[in-house]
Amino acid sequence: MTETLTGRPDTPLPIAHHPVRDVLTGPVGSIGITLIIVLVAGLALIGPRFLSASNVTIAGQFVAIPMLIGGFASFALLAGVVDLSIGSIAGVAAAILGALLVNGWDIASAITLTLAACLLFGAINATAIVGFNADPIAATLGMLTGLRGATYVIVEAYGQSGSLFAFHDGLFALTNLMVWSLPLIFLVALGVTAVAAVIVGKTRLGRHTRAVGGDALAASRAGISVARVRTGALLLSALGAGLGGVLYVGQLGAVSRNLGFGLEFQVYAALMIGGFSILRGGVGSPAGGALGFLVIAGAANILDLSGISPYYVNIIVGMLLLAAVLLDRLRGGDAYE
């Protein structure tokens, strides 16, 4: 699959780098400008209420968990192995945790076991993709379906009428905790983004991941273990989705059978708007990805406050997605012919 996707017909002419211009014309720059447009539109349409602490809190709580999951999943994208199963992993993690809590497990061991299960799912993904050379989209689509089925079965077994009641005081308090008048989980998501940005941009691990995603053959010739990087990225992606599922249990207090359904598309749409690609590794930065989430959250919030049908959000997301990939191509990204 990658052989038809990575062919870059002409290398761009060498242009002297200029830090300010690079940022403005790069993917992070365009998504940053989009975010500013959204903020201005919000202020113009909604008024000062748009940036009030209570509204930012609502929007922050809404976007925090997908953003956290996206921060982890972006490593898999960078390594060139898209993990479509993240939505289902979040769902099944919530279901497992809920079932364990219902059965009287203490929270620490329940969360540990849940995250261990998620790592196992990540390891299965990695075995299929890295070990057996399976196509990442198709293999993780299989994992997506299988774990959705597992979520149905668990919720059916331990819950009533398609929902598993799993309220936990501590977890609820944690997911609703406010720090500096912002939700803690939103700050955690921002923190994960910051750490990811440093890892990707400044460390050897990050450079290796980008190299593997950009050109696996060249990376392996340079002595980088492609298998190890991709396995690690898939494990990380599954772990992040599992953490997201755990936080959903705290936030929602119950696990519906469809928890996390379609979440992978929401997350990847945001990451792609932020400059990542689900088909080509090595591109994108965690900061851009986080801005992508903020743009969508801002747009959703504006529609919400204006009383406009939430379905318009998906229309906007779809348009932004097309615009973002088109912009990426015009900037010299891969052309599909």
Partner: protein, 330 residues
């Protein structure tokens, strides 16, 4: 035979690989799995082997099979996936239902619905070809937009109750559901034409190696347009069968088909990278996948378990496929 032609096109650049079991290896595995599944179910419960079971399986096969033809065409021609099928399926089902409710003759409704499906495919193709954007991302985005737009248009719809159209969807012919026969016809015809017509061979060649195809004077643009319009028409055909056979449907009703359809296409040996696949084998893969839910019922498992089995089957299939390609590449 058909597969041989496709395999040949795909392996044109790799001499010595011509007689590899392209596609048929997967087919043999799927056929064995199918036989094993039927055998185990029949041993477990003798009443599994009944006309009722055959009816259930063939009914499930119909819509998945028609959509899988479109998905396979996209895959074979190197377009990877058409993720917008849930939208085109429901859009066309809605158009057909609304037109029938207006009292329009089904003879007119069918071509109009197929044209709507073709128009949806054309829209995808326009964005893909002129934007030079990857079909996976384009169809992901158009599906996002399309489903949201459908939710704005309607919440629930169905074809007029008691109409001849609905009667067709519920009826059967020669002991098998009416809606099964158009699927069989589509698979046989497309599977026959694909390796034997110029357009079909162009599609295979583009999927195998687009640069080589271009060098041979094949227009990539024309091929992309043809393939995505064909996929849209398949979705419209599925939409007609869906509107005829299902009860009330919502804009989200099409989403459940996407995964079985992709699984069916991959199990039929269609490579996501393009250039390889046999439409006829869809009969086998769809038959196998559609037997799973019915068999599960006989084992006392709810339909919730179906997704687990489908997921496992898909993962195993792509792992085998990937493993084989890795060894061939060496």
């Amino acid at each position: 035979m058909a597969d041989h032609a496709i395999g040949h096109a795909a392996s044109a650049g790799r001499p010595g690989m011509r007689f590899r079991l392209d596609g048929w290896g997967t087919a043999a595995v799927v056929a064995l799995a199918w036989v094993a599944l039927v055998a185990v179910s029949a041993i477990h419960r003798a009443d599994f082997v009944s006309h009722q079971t055959v009816l259930a399986i063939t009914f499930t096969m119909s819509i998945v099979g028609v959509l899988a033809v479109g998905q396979a065409l996209v895959g074979i021609s190197g377009g990877f996936l058409d993720l917008s099928q849930p939208t085109s399926l429901i859009l066309t089902a809605l158009v057909a239902s609304r037109l029938l409710a207006l009292g329009l003759d089904p003879i007119l409704v069918i071509p109009i619905t197929l044209a709507v499906g073709a128009a949806w495919g054309l829209l995808n193709a326009l964005i893909i070809v002129y934007g030079k954007l990857n079909p996976v991302i384009v169809t992901l985005a158009t599906n996002f937009i399309g489903l949201a737009a459908l939710f704005l248009i309607f919440q629930i719809a169905e074809a007029p109750i008691g109409s001849a159209f609905r009667a067709f969807g519920r009826g059967s012919f020669l002991g098998l559901p009416n809606i099964w026969w158009p699927m069989v016809a589509l698979i046989l015809i497309v599977g026959f034409l694909l390796p034997r017509t110029r357009y079909g061979r162009h599609a295979i060649a583009v999927g195998g190696n687009r640069f080589a195809a271009q060098a041979r004077g094949i227009s990539l643009r024309k091929t992309r347009f043809a393939i995505f319009v064909a996929s849209g028409i398949c979705a419209a055909m599925a939409g007609l069968l869906f509107a005829a056979s299902s009860g009330p449907f919502t804009p989200a009703s099409g989403t459940v088909y996407l995964l079985p359809v992709i699984a069916a296409s991959i199990l039929a040996g269609v490579s996501l990278g393009g250039g390889r696949g046999n439409i006829w084998l869809i009969m086998l893969s769809v038959g196998f996948l559609s037997t799973v839910p019915t068999a599960l019922v006989f084992f006392g498992l709810t339909s919730d378990w179906q997704a687990i089995f489908q997921g496992v089957i898909l993962m195993v299939a792509v792992a085998i496929d990937g493993y084989r390609e890795k060894w061939v590449a060496r």
